[in-house]
Subunit: 429 residues, 2 copies
């Protein structure tokens, strides 16, 4: 039996009862002979309450102090969890991100992990302890200041520790039973995925699936750490994310090797579409547009350009990005308008994106055709199309998204016999 890293989100440790329930689960793993490292998020709404306090004293809470404030949340949950485990007769020690050796850069509120030096964790494990580590936080390499890792930070902490400690598996406990073929709140017949490759999971995450964040999956793939996403409430087997299935599933066994294997349908209504109208169709124009966006520190998602109308020599370039960054993007482009030389900007935040993800898509032309047919049959109009090796995405009206997702899910035979999906509560960080 090897080393296991378990991560519990805020909804799993929302109150004293939750903490005691999680403590029992951790002790089970220890009793089964594992060395156990636990990464824990702040309890339930703690983070929101701290943010609320910060806004009361300062309209613009700044990076360093904001991180110092927020990290109090995990300090509370990890200490309580260690106490609860001790109360079950097992030894446990809690460690801050800094004590656990999570070294980051100095970008407060969204620091990136540079290195993990878990010497104290290793010692605690060797002495027979269960190690509890604060998720979401680290310490900056240069200034030794407390940092936080931003969205999905605790999952990333867990995977990073699993990599540094050469863990057998990183178990991500959440409030759903695993990764589903579609969002169970939209598709009642969504099916839990037993196994999914890192690549497909990355595409799902990039396409709007919220169970695992892109960043955490990317880290796991780089260090080849299998992730097991599962519910802290049900105790069922969840979804394995790894380079190869650890156990060959019947589902895959039945498929012909060359056939496309569809992992699932993801959707995202958090983005807006910007169209730059009347761009001169000559080298350097696209570069100028996206340099302006990059200089504003904005991440974009899809980029689409059609062939230009021969008569005008002008083309349109569209891209999508998080709605929250929309006004910054428009501002940056307006400023650069003269230099770039386009006609006008169009902004639309009533869009949605539907993506089909699966291996072998490119070599199965039928997939694309079936995808469009399904949307057409559902009366959904397509505004943008973008494809990759293992994904096809379209942008539609936001209102059309639920119907479109259900239609595609059904068309690709993903519907389960029963309505099996269960959702337990909110999500942590």
């Amino acid at each position: 039996m090897g080393l296991v890293v378990q991560k519990y989100g805020g909804s799993s440790v929302a109150d004293a009862e939750g903490i005691k329930r999680v403590a029992k689960r951790i002790v089970e793993a220890k009793k089964n002979g594992h060395q156990v490292v636990v990464v824990v998020s702040a309890m339930g709404d703690t983070t929101d309450e701290l943010i609320d306090l910060a806004e009361q004293v300062s309209p613009m809470p700044t990076g360093r102090e904001f991180d110092m404030l927020l990290t109090a949340g995990e300090r509370i949950s990890m200490a309580l969890l260690a106490m609860a485990i001790k109360n079950l007769g097992h030894e446990a020690q809690s460690f801050t991100g800094s004590q656990a050796g999570v070294i980051t850069d100095s970008v407060h509120n969204k620091a990136r992990i540079i290195d993990v030096t878990p010497g104290r964790i290793r010692t605690a494990l060797d002495e027979g302890n269960i190690a509890i580590v604060a998720g979401f936080q680290g310490v900056s390499q240069d200034k030794k200041d407390i940092t936080t890792l931003g969205r999905g930070g605790s999952d990333t902490t867990a995977v990073a520790l699993a990599a540094a400690l050469d863990a057998e598996v990183c178990e991500i406990y959440t409030d759903v039973d695993g990764v589903f073929t579609a969002d169970p709140r939209v598709v009642k017949k969504a099916r839990k995925i037993d196994w999914i490759s890192f690549e497909d999971m990355l595409e799902l995450a990039a396409s709007g699936s919220k169970v695992l964040l892109h960043r955490c999956v990317e880290y796991a793939r780089r260090y080849n750490i299998p992730i097991h996403v599962r519910s802290s409430f049900s105790g069922l087997q969840g979804t394995w994310v790894s380079s190869e299935p650890l156990v060959r599933k019947q589902q895959q066994g039945e498929q012909k090797v060359e056939q496309a294997i569809i992992s699932g349908v993801a959707h995202d209504t958090s983005e807006a579409k910007v169209t730059v109208v009347g761009v001169p169709d000559k080298p350097g124009e696209a570069a100028a547009i996206f340099r302006a966006i990059a200089d504003a520190q904005l991440n974009i998602d899809m980029v689409v350009q059609n062939v230009s109308a021969a008569s005008t020599g002008l083309t349109d370039i569209s891209f999508t990005l998080p709605k929250t960054d929309g006004h910054k993007a428009i501002g940056s482009l307006e400023k650069a308008k003269a230099a770039i030389g386009f006609d006008s900007l169009r902004y639309d935040d009533q869009i949605g994106k539907i993506s089909l993800v699966g291996a072998g898509m490119k070599t199965n032309p039928g997939v694309t055709a079936s995808f469009f047919e399904a949307l057409s049959d559902a009366g959904v109009n397509i505004e943008l199309i973008s494809t990759s090796e293992i994904r096809i995405s379209v942008v539609t009206r936001a209102d059309d998204v639920p119907e479109a997702v259900r239609a595609v899910h059904s068309a690709f035979g993903l519907d389960s016999e029963s309505d099996e999906a269960v959702v337990y509560g909110g999500t942590g960080r």
Copy 2:
């Protein structure tokens, strides 16, 4: 203008409004040309809420994790305070006890400071920052674990930092206007003391005055750091505690040099009295009794032994100690009964202690006489008497304490013309 250390208790930073008010006061000191280091306690009831959570997950929260939990409280208040200061246009950085260089022993929940290495604080000050430091916490020298300093910990942090940074003064902001000649809740005519010596303040603290704890005053005396106790609400001059009055007060000027200078009357109803009855009057008996108490890690206060009755060769030994330790003391003595060879134990938790503190008492026999006369006139019976160079204490029935304190206060001319004492709220840690 030199360096000032300011300490704010939990009642001063109970909510966002309190934090903003304190921030303004800090900025004032900075504007007046001081370098400012601020030590802050946890907000209002935070610590109690954390303790409550701990008790929900574990009936016996253990040292290391309990400290990790509690220190989250200061992390929150200090980060918010730094944000509030920045919002007023001044630079501030917050530091945990560990970051501030507060090095302690490894006794969790009541660690003692071994060393203070405030390198990061000095750097922050040199760069023009206001430094905000978490009170009540440190890091253990050997294991690098987070520790807490126990009761009065934040005051001790403040004085320790003031000593290490060679501060001009350590300002302790609280919810009363300073140290009074008696507890204003008991004596309406209690007077604020403008200046008091370390020695008298130590005796007052040891005798039940709660404004400053003994430990903090002791630290300040050792390093000769003047303390200014004052209200964070009123902004008035408070009480200076130092080796010599910084400004000669009229009050002292009027006194004859050889006359006793009474500082005040303190009382304490938190103690119980244990009487060991029928102790053989021979060498080693008292030692055996107090070794048994010491082995149980109990601190005792007064110890009184009368001459033995010649006929029996037996004597009684009485001592007082905190009520909360009473059952432990009885248990320890019962266990050692055979070895020590006493007859029986008597336990009484309905007692109170009244102490008169002031320099020059010993050489003014009238003081003791006047003290006893005042109690007698008030109809108060005396059960135990104990004296030091600058203090005389008696134990009475708990019910008699308020009347006794008022009688003594009046008899020594301490009553003010008006009812000037103001109490603003609860007290922090």
